[in-house]
C-alpha cells in the first residue's frame, strides 16, 4: 500500500545553553490513506513534538533531521507559503488544551469560518452557512445561535466539538488529534470519541494520546513511543492484547483493570539518554547487552518492536 505520509529518520533536537534535548530520535513511520494510527506514550516522550513536526509548527530553535514525505514532497523542506496552503486544508490539527486553542474574544462561528475563508474553499457568501452546517454536524442543537456565542459560554465538551469543527472545516485528508479528550468526563468523552470516529470514517487520523482506551476505540494501528523513539508498532488489537515490548507490557500492567502494577523507576531525561536500550534500567528482562547496545527495530510480520528479545 502506498503511504500517504512517510516519516523517515526524523529527529528533533532542542539546543539549550547547557545541553541538547533529544525530543524525537530517528523515527520511521508510514501512514497509509485511511489509516487510523495512535501514537501512545507518557508525557515528555516526544509524541506531541512529532505531531508538530508534521504540521510544520515547531519553534525556530528546533533542529530537525530526516524527511516527512507527503504527496511527492518533503514537508520539512517546504517553503512557508506552501506549508500554509497545506496546513488546515490538507492536514489539520485538533490541538491539545481546548480552552486555550479558541480565541476568547471572537464568536465561535467566525472561528469556524476562518480556515474556509483563508483557504478560499467557498465563495465568501456561502461561508457563513457552511460554518453553521458544520456546527450542526458536530451536534449543536441550534447551530445558528451557537455560532454567535463566545467560547466561554460553552462547556469543555462543546468547546472540543468546536475545535473538531474548525479542524474539519476545509475537509482535510489528514487530521492530527492531540489528546482530544483530556480533561473531559467519562460520558462527555465517550460522546466526543463517537463524534470523532464518525467524522474520521473516510479520513486519515493520527491520534496522539496517553490513554490506551481512546487509542483502541479510535485506531486500527498503534505506535508506542518511549523516550523519543518508537519502541513498538502494529495492529491495535494484536499490540494491545499481546504486547511484545517490555515497556508496552508494563504500561498495560499498570492499568487499574490489570491490577495497577507500576513500572519501577522513571523515564530517562531526554537530555541524558543512555547508550543502550532506553528502557533498560526499568526493564524486568534486561540483560547485559541491553545496557551497552542500542536495539534496532525488528520486524515480526505486521509488527515492529525495538527489543533484543525479539531480534
Amino acid at each position: 500500500m502506498m503511504s500517504l505520509i512517510s516519516i523517515a529518520g526524523l529527529s528533533v533536537r532542542f539546543a539549550t545553553r547547557s545541553e541538547c534535548v533529544r525530543a524525537v530520535d530517528t523515527v520511521d513511520l508510514e501512514i497509509a490513506r485511511g489509516d487510523h494510527l495512535a501514537l501512545i506514550g507518557e508525557s515528555g516522550c516526544g509524541k506531541t513534538v512529532l505531531g508538530m513536526a508534521v504540521m510544520g509548527l515547531l519553534p525556530e530553535n528546533a533542529l530537525i533531521r530526516g524527511t516527512i514525505r507527503y504527496r511527492e514532497r518533503d514537508l520539512l523542506q517546504a517553503e512557508d507559503a506552501e506549508m500554509q496552503r497545506i496546513r488546515g486544508k490538507e492536514i489539520a490539527m485538533i490541538m491539545q488544551n481546548t480552552a486555550s486553542s479558541l480565541n476568547p474574544v471572537i464568536p465561535v462561528g467566525i472561528q469556524v469560518s476562518e480556515p474556509i475563508l483563508l483557504h478560499r474553499i467557498l465563495p465568501a457568501k456561502a461561508v457563513q452557512a457552511e460554518a453553521i452546517r458544520l456546527l450542526g454536524a458536530m451536534g449543536f442543537d441550534l447551530p445558528e445561535r451557537a455560532a454567535c456565542r463566545y467560547p466561554h459560554e460553552f462547556s469543555g465538551g462543546m468547546q472540543e466539538r468546536i475545535l473538531v469543527a474548525i479542524a474539519l472545516a476545509c475537509r482535510p485528508d489528514i487530521v492530527i488529534a492531540d489528546e482530544p479528550t483530556s480533561g473531559l468526563d467519562a460520558e462527555v468523552k465517550s460522546q466526543i470519541l463517537h463524534l470523532i470516529k464518525k467524522q474520521m470514517a473516510d479520513r486519515t487520523l493520527l491520534l496522539i494520546t496517553h490513554d490506551l482506551g481512546t487509542a483502541r476505540f479510535l485506531c486500527t494501528r498503534v505506535a508506542v513511543m518511549y523516550a523519543g523513539e518508537i519502541v513498538e508498532e502494529g495492529p491495535a488489537h494484536d499490540l494491545l492484547s499481546l504486547p511484545l515490548h517490555p515497556y508496552t507490557q508494563g504500561l498495560l500492567a499498570s492499568l487499574p483493570s490489570a491490577g495497577l502494577h507500576p513500572i519501577p523507576g522513571m523515564s530517562p531525561s531526554p537530555s541524558h539518554l543512555p547508550d543502550g536500550c532506553r528502557f533498560c534500567s526499568r526493564c524486568p528482562s534486561a540483560t547485559a547487552r541491553c545496557s551497552t547496545e542500542h536495539p534496532r527495530m525488528s520486524v515480526r510480520g505486521a509488527r515492529r518492536v525495538r527489543c533484543f528479545h525479539y531480534a
Partner: protein, 263 residues
C-alpha cells in the same frame, strides 16, 4: 472516624430574587478508622466540595461533620487549627500544590516548622526519612519543583502531608494529572503507607477502576447526592442504582478488552 450527617451546601446569588444552586444535597457518610472510602462521580457532581467540607476548608450550609467524635463544623477557629495536623489533604494538581520558589527540602520542612514538631537539627534528620518513605532519593531535596517530574511532585506533596503524622487524609484525584505507570506507582505508595500507619482515607476519583482498587467502601455521587453506597465487592457485583450500573458496566467493558493481566 469521620462522619458526615445531612450535609448541605448551596450557593445563592441575586439580591431581590434569590437563585439557589445546590452543590451538596443532604449527604450522610461515614468512614471507619483505617479504611478507605472511595468517592466516585463525574466532574461537577460535588465530590471535591464534599471532600473540602469534610476538612472544613469549605463551610457547609447545614449539617454536621464529626471527626473522631469532635464536631468539626462548630469548632472555633483556634480549636480547628489544633485539629488541622490530624486531618490533611492531597490535591489533584501537584504543579499548583507546591510553592515554585521553595526547594523540596523547604517544602517538606515547612509543616514541621509551623507545628514545632522538630527542632532545626531534628528536621535535617526527618526530611531524608520522609523522602525515603515516599520513595524519593534524598539528593532531590535541593531541587525546585520545576526540576522534578509530576510523579515526584506528587510524592513531595504526600511527604509534606505525612510529616504531620495525620490520621485522616482526603486524596482528591491525586493521580488525575499523572501518567498511567506513574499513577500505579503513586496509588501503590498511598496504599502501602495507609497500611503502615493505619490511615483513614477519603479517596476521590472519577475513575471507578481506580476506586475499586483503592477502597473498602464506595459512595457514588451524582448531581450533589449520594446515589449509592456499599462495600466495594457488593457495588461491583450488584449495583442498585442505574447510574452506578452504567459506571460499573463501562469499567468492566474496558477490562474485558485489555485482558486480565498481560504479564
Amino acid at each position: 472516624m469521620l462522619e458526615l450527617s445531612s450535609v448541605m451546601k448551596y450557593y445563592e446569588k441575586g439580591f431581590f430574587r434569590r437563585h439557589r444552586t445546590t452543590a451538596i444535597d443532604n449527604v450522610s457518610l461515614s468512614v471507619r478508622k483505617g479504611e478507605t472510602l472511595g468517592l466516585v462521580g463525574e466532574s461537577g457532581s460535588g465530590k471535591t466540595t464534599l471532600g473540602r467540607i469534610a476538612l472544613r476548608l469549605i463551610e457547609p450550609s447545614s449539617g454536621m461533620v464529626r471527626f473522631d467524635g469532635i464536631k468539626v463544623t462548630t469548632l472555633s477557629r483556634s480549636a480547628l487549627r489544633q485539629l488541622r495536623p490530624r486531618m490533611q489533604i492531597v490535591f489533584q494538581d501537584p504543579d499548583t500544590a507546591l510553592n515554585p520558589r521553595m526547594t523540596v527540602h523547604d517544602c517538606v520542612a515547612e509543616p514541621l516548622t509551623i507545628w514545632h514538631l522538630a527542632g532545626p537539627r531534628e528536621i535535617e534528620d526527618r526530611i531524608p526519612e520522609l523522602l525515603e518513605l515516599v520513595g524519593l532519593q534524598p539528593d532531590l531535596a535541593a531541587r525546585f519543583p520545576f526540576e522534578i517530574s509530576g510523579g515526584q511532585k506528587q510524592r513531595v506533596a504526600l511527604a509534606r502531608v505525612l510529616a504531620l503524622n495525620p490520621e485522616f487524609i482526603v486524596a482528591d484525584e491525586p493521580t488525575a494529572a499523572l501518567d498511567l505507570s506513574v499513577q500505579a506507582q503513586i496509588l501503590g505508595l498511598l496504599k502501602d503507607i495507609q497500611q503502615k500507619r493505619n490511615l483513614t482515607l477519603l479517596f476521590i476519583s472519577h475513575d471507578l477502576q481506580v476506586i475499586e482498587k483503592m477502597s473498602d467502601t464506595i459512595a457514588v455521587m451524582h448531581a450533589g447526592k449520594i446515589v449509592e453506597r456499599g462495600r466495594t465487592p457488593e457495588i461491583f457485583s450488584n449495583p442498585q442504582n442505574p447510574y452506578t450500573a452504567r459506571l460499573v458496566a463501562a469499567a468492566r467493558a474496558s477490562e474485558a478488552w485489555f485482558g486480565k493481566n498481560p504479564r
